[in-house]
Symmetry: C2
Subunit: 200 residues, 2 copies
């Protein structure tokens, strides 16, 4: 199975170095409840502004709650459905608009939700699971299907499961599954003391 | 020195379990350039929507660029300055408003920036460093001092360094440094298949 270690100038921790977002899921391998709890606990202990924990996750496990999985799947864009169909677990990640303690807008809600999902994804890597996060889903449809409150923003759909060989993929995705992972150079995103001055 | 392992129902990976946000920094311990690069590489390899990498980081190292550190420090709220003064490195994390490929609004920019900062923080834990992320800074001031472009949002100031004993802290922060870390119960944030139904 395809593995893709990040190419870095210095060593970084294994679970960060080897995490990537495969599309080839093993349709017949369920995620155990214990492993699922570990993913959620990892997200739960992420940092957040005022420790508000502005994230909400709706876990849709095909093997224990087929209806919820079907709802999650139905909200994914067609192109992503081609591969996400094999993911045994789909998780909807939602950011609450306002702080708990004063009901005022929380400008870090999305930022913190992203952090929680990063933790979840790294925990998955640690357990030999894979996660592919999608922005390609219909947020309004998830509002309806999951009866979300008005004061939140659906941020991502996370496909979770075990990796399979590239052969399980629709033709359209085989090449990309085998491609090298890529990032722009460090200096294009990380600056030394002043805006635009790439760090070396 | 104070360590705070997350209390979880199932085992999670060490670096996720033990990461927390101390305020007690060792003023006399610089972060090596190699370790700094490792933190940035960890952030660099986070997932992002369309692989846009919408984050930008301005790294302000007191030991190599005192002016930039002073600018970062000056934008922190007074209360946080009481402890952040000892952090040898301050990093401003910024989210770009629009996608690179089409210049249209990127609704995942903050989410992805939060993910990159989560990676950075976990890499710090792996290296024996500490990170304390702050929302408590003057975003407008960072725009001026760092000449940020208009189409971005300053999201967080990250204090980075080595942990010191609680004694280095101003009285106001000693108790909180020794407190247990806390999170609401899993079921309050993580739902089983439908909104509000806490997972068990």
């Amino acid at each position: 199975m395809q593995s893709k270690s990040a190419i870095t100038s210095v060593k970084i921790h294994d679970i960060i170095q080897t995490r990537w977002s495969p599309r080839a899921f093993a349709a017949d391998k369920a995620v155990s409840h214990e492993d699922l709890l570990a993913l959620l606990e990892a997200a739960r202990w992420a940092a957040s502004c005022f420790n508000d924990q502005p994230w909400r996750f709706v876990v849709c496990d095909k093997n224990t709650n087929a209806t919820s999985w079907q709802n999650a799947y139905a909200s994914i864009v067609e192109r992503n459905q081609l591969w996400a169909k094999n993911a045994p677990v789909l998780i909807l990640a939602v950011a609450m608009a306002n702080f708990n303690h004063n009901d005022k807008p929380n400008r870090w809600a999305m930022y913190d939700t992203g952090a929680a999902c990063a933790n979840l994804s790294l925990q998955a890597t640690a357990l030999g699971l894979i996660v592919h996060q999608m922005g390609g889903f219909d947020a309004e449809k998830t509002r309806e299907l999951f009866h979300l409150p008005h004061d939140c923003t659906p941020m991502a759909m996370l496909a979770v499961g075990y990796q399979a060989d590239v052969d399980v993929l629709h033709e359209d995705f085989k090449a990309i599954e085998l491609d090298q992972r890529s990032r722009v150079t460090l200096g294009e995103r990380f600056y030394a003391g002043q805006w635009g001055k790439g760090i070396e």
